[in-house]
Subunit: 312 residues, 2 copies
């Protein structure tokens, strides 16, 4: 499986090794990444893409695992992408995969992958989008994208999934409210996890208060209580995801999501590829310019103009 042609067949059949290799190609900008995506492209559009986002400690990995289990029981094939912003530095991805693998038994119906942040700007958002497409093409019915925190990369990713579930927990204090306010507009669904703890009503009130401050939305995001560690609230959450999906299909929301996602993909890929080509052309000149900036002989705007030529 060294070329796009060789990989395509096994990939479309859902072979896990082919899928893992294809995702790595996308992450690393392998020469066969582009031709593979072109071949995969006509096979897309069947999977339901579900985003789960929430603060560290909100228990969203457990929630993801429970959702996956339930969907597997229903005969679905499930892909999980854990977007892991910790990974530029250490083996977070590998570690994460191992931990996660222990929790869900090996099964050809499930595929789990931590998406590591790469150095490239926009790289994480772009690679995650590629991975979603590959899982879709490989016949996974549901793709769950799990994100920690609300960095821009992650916001980009969850803003164009089909259903974005925001996971909250009671008793995490003031600062978290600011984040909640910020992601209000991408949330299609609120999950209050660890709902056996004190303070559930308060979180619910805060969600309602924030909703009342936001402009009314065509889809009013419902609130669902869960205790993921005990499997409580999982069925209810899946029902809400199903309802939201039906609403999307009914009101043209799917086309809007597809357009948003297409724009994100185009923009991030353009920035990445344009930079790559320009730097390749500029060669060792780039290093000299960076040195000159570091020594304050040149400001960064001027350096970029030297490489790009005078702007409009």
């Amino acid at each position: 499986m060294h070329t796009a042609d060789e990989l395509l067949g096994p990939l479309l059949e859902g072979n896990a090794r082919a899928l893992a290799r294809a995702i790595s190609w996308m992450e690393n900008g392998h020469p066969q990444a582009r031709p593979l995506m072109a071949k995969v492209w006509p096979h897309l559009g069947k999977a339901t893409i579900l985003g789960l986002t929430g603060s560290p400690g909100s228990g969203k990995s457990t929630l993801t695992d429970q959702l996956a289990r339930r969907l597997l029981e229903k005969g679905q094939r499930v892909g999980i992408l854990a977007v892991d912003p910790t990974s530029p530095f250490s083996g977070g991805a590998i570690l994460g995969d191992r931990i996660r693998m222990g929790r869900i038994a090996p099964d050809p119906s499930i595929f789990i992958r931590s998406m590591a942040t790469r150095g490239a700007l926009g790289g994480l958002a772009r690679a995650t989008q590629d991975a979603i497409d590959l899982l879709d093409a490989a016949g996974f019915d549901t793709v769950i994208v799990e994100t920690v925190g609300v960095g821009q990369d992650e916001v980009d990713v969850v803003s164009c999934v089909h259903t974005c579930a925001v996971v909250l927990v009671p008793g995490l204090g003031d600062e978290i409210q600011a984040i909640k306010a910020g992601i209000m507009e991408v949330a299609d669904l609120f999950i209050i996890n660890k709902a056996d703890r004190e303070g559930v009503e308060q979180v619910e009130q805060e969600i309602e208060a924030m909703k009342s401050l936001s402009p009314p939305k065509p889809w009013d995001p419902p609130v669902c209580r869960a205790v993921a560690t005990e499997g409580i609230g999982i069925a209810e959450m899946l029902e809400l995801v199903r309802e939201h999906g039906a609403w999307l299909r009914g009101g043209g929301g799917l086309e809007r999501k597809a357009r948003e996602r297409a724009k994100l993909r185009f923009d991030s890929l353009l920035a990445e590829e344009a930079s790559r080509r320009i730097k390749a052309r500029a060669g060792h000149r780039v290093q000299e310019l960076i040195e000159a900036i570091a020594k304050r002989e040149l400001d960064p705007y001027a350096a970029v103009e030297i490489v790009l030529g005078p702007g409009s």
Copy 2:
């Protein structure tokens, strides 16, 4: 103050309105942003840049305020940049500023600004770097960059400050450990805030355990306990920041940081400006390509190649 020339004088004198306008110019890509940066550039290099990063609920805003207060008492001028990834969506920045402003009395020696995420790729990291430079040029002795979470933008920002303090709190559970592991390599200093809570020793043990797993570093990041709400540990933290600064100046670390920062600035500005120019040239063709991607008539790699021409 409508041109770079008009703004430069008041800015270098530390005028708050001039500074606010200049930062907005950088954020919005105002035509005068580039000439202003060129004029500001020779005046840089005096400020100490301190990064404070930590999970939501870690109390790092309170910590920042306490640090600022202490530095003000010492006669310093202090700039605070709160990198706020929630702001693409709602008025998080404004809200944040108001809350913060109430905590620290208006004073010409202090400047507080929330950096809002812009739509542009790399925009937040780039605009924050610009703002750091402007505060430096305006004569602020210490610039504190406060970041929520560990998104790639934020990691980019804190990876090239002079001293990066990672704020932890006792009792935030398992998932947070993964994040801690991820930021180990950028941390110059660990603050255990809310150290009057149960579990401080456990956090300390976890930090030590992680350190022992990482390759040894020339600077061994110390651990400092604090209770920011009561002003406990602030003096100790400032002393550690001072020690780390002395170490950096002694061992050539400042040049390394300057080079990393120059590379980040060049890369993010190049991606942003190259994309902007290419899209301006392609005009309405861009919208057509995005539509074609959304309808799955074209894959994003092919679309980018149409705009950029065949790649190498």
